[in-house]
């Protein structure tokens, strides 16, 4: 090892931060090199001087001042975090409820498909937009619907019937429910439309003539 390589490693040698092999190489070099040995002694002296520096002492109220600063942060932060976390949780809960309700609605439609009896039965078809489900009852209840999801309508064998899907505006659902009857006269239950309002699903049986 030459002096240039040795000198650049003397600090690390002193600190024990070299590999075992490097330590041996440096040690061998130092036994034969007075200049590098002198350099090592100088580095050792500097290191010792620094390590012997007495710790600087803060003022008596230093710790209290730090805690005062932390108190200020805590009192400012608790309001903000509470406000944000509240709204974050509120959004999360809202989405969770909407997601659950949508699943329930999907299951419900599937259940109707499976269980719906009566002449002609019923089937669910997906046309056009995959997000739109078409409930097609050959029976007098609900028949088909157009691909226009903005204004749902139905064509029955006899007369137009209102059709409720996940795309149907809630205001329309509500107006149809109100016009027809109260809940006791309408088979099935009236729940809120999950797409429009997470708390209401209108079942296929809720509206019919």
């Amino acid at each position: 090892m030459n002096c240039r390589r040795a000198v650049s490693r003397l600090s690390a040698y002193l600190d024990g931060e070299l590999t075992g092999q490097e330590m041996l190489l440096i040690r061998r070099h130092l036994t034969d090199c007075e200049a590098c040995s002198k350099e090592l002694a100088d580095i050792r002296e500097i290191k010792m001087s620094l390590s012997e520096l007495r710790p600087a002492v803060p003022s008596d109220d230093f710790l209290a001042n730090i805690f005062q600063g932390l108190d200020n942060v805590s009192s400012n932060a608790s309001g903000m975090h509470t406000f944000w976390e509240m709204h974050k949780l509120s959004f999360a809960n809202g989405f969770t409820k909407a997601g659950l309700a949508t699943c329930l609605c999907s299951i419900l439609f599937l259940a109707l498909y499976v269980t719906s009896g009566g002449p002609g039965g019923s089937r669910i078809q997906y046309i056009g937009n995959q997000n739109m489900a078409m409930v097609n009852f050959v029976s007098s209840k609900f028949v088909g619907l157009s691909s226009n999801s903005d204004v749902p309508y139905a064509i029955s064998n006899d007369k137009p019937l209102p059709v409720i899907t996940s795309e149907t505006p809630y205001s329309y659902c509500r107006s149809q429910c109100a016009r027809r009857s109260n809940k006791t006269d309408v088979p099935g239950t009236a729940e809120k439309n999950p797409y429009i309002d997470p708390h209401i699903v209108v079942t296929a049986n809720a509206l019919y003539q």
Binding site: S8, R9, L10, S11, A12, D15, E17, D42, I43, E45, I46, K47, S49, L50, S51, L53, R54, P55, A56, V57, P58, S59, F62, L63, N65, I66, F67, G69, L70, V73, S74, A77, S78, H81, T82, E85, M86, L89, S90
Partner: protein, 188 residues
């Protein structure tokens, strides 16, 4: 929603208690490092306090697989750099340099308020020389030397605190010590 708020307050309270314990444990050491970085008590207290406040703000990001000192010194370094950028560069006056007056040159005399023995005076003088020399070094080398030689951190810990690698730390410590010796020799 009310339940969520009280849960959060409880978590914040626990964080604060834990952080307070860390402050009590580390504040003197942190102050010492800050003093060696800035060279005077007022700035050292400001730097330390601001660093603890920032550390508390980011306490949620602290991963306990890293020693608290390394994480904290990283924050202190950022605060130090920001303060340097905000503060106009101060001119460093040598205490030994003659002051040119109308009637001739004068030398600054700083009254020593302590009545300690000669050894204490010599020790104080040596410490002042060292601190002056430290302050005259470029920041990156000064910090490396402070962390390694005053705080006793390993090269890896210094690398974590300064967001560099061991190779860079090794080079900075080597060059920093050399620089310090040259400055001290120049002061004699």
């Amino acid at each position: 929603m009310e339940l969520a708020c009280s849960d959060m307050n409880e978590t914040q309270g626990q964080d604060r208690k834990l952080f307070d314990k860390l402050v009590v444990k580390h504040h003197k050491q942190a102050y010492n490092v800050a003093f060696r970085m800035v060279g005077n008590h007022t700035d050292a207290e400001d730097l330390t306090q601001e660093s603890f406040i920032r550390a508390f703000r980011f306490f949620g990001h602290y991963k306990q697989d890293m020693p608290f000192e390394s994480w904290f010194y990283r924050i202190m370094l950022n605060v130090f750099i920001e303060k340097l950028r905000r503060k106009p560069k101060a001119k460093i006056w040598s205490l030994d340099a003659p002051i040119h007056g109308v009637d001739g040159d004068y030398h600054m005399e700083i009254p020593d308020k302590t009545d300690g023995p000669e050894e204490t005076l010599l020790l104080r003088e040596r410490e002042n020389r060292l601190q002056t020399a430290l302050k005259a070094m470029p920041d990156v080398f000064r910090l490396a030397v402070i962390y390694a030689d005053i705080e006793g951190l390993s090269y890896e810990e210094v690398a974590e605190a300064t967001r560099t690698n061991v190779g860079t730390v090794r080079s900075r410590i080597f060059r920093g010590r050399r620089m310090l010796k040259q400055i001290l020799d120049g002061m004699d």
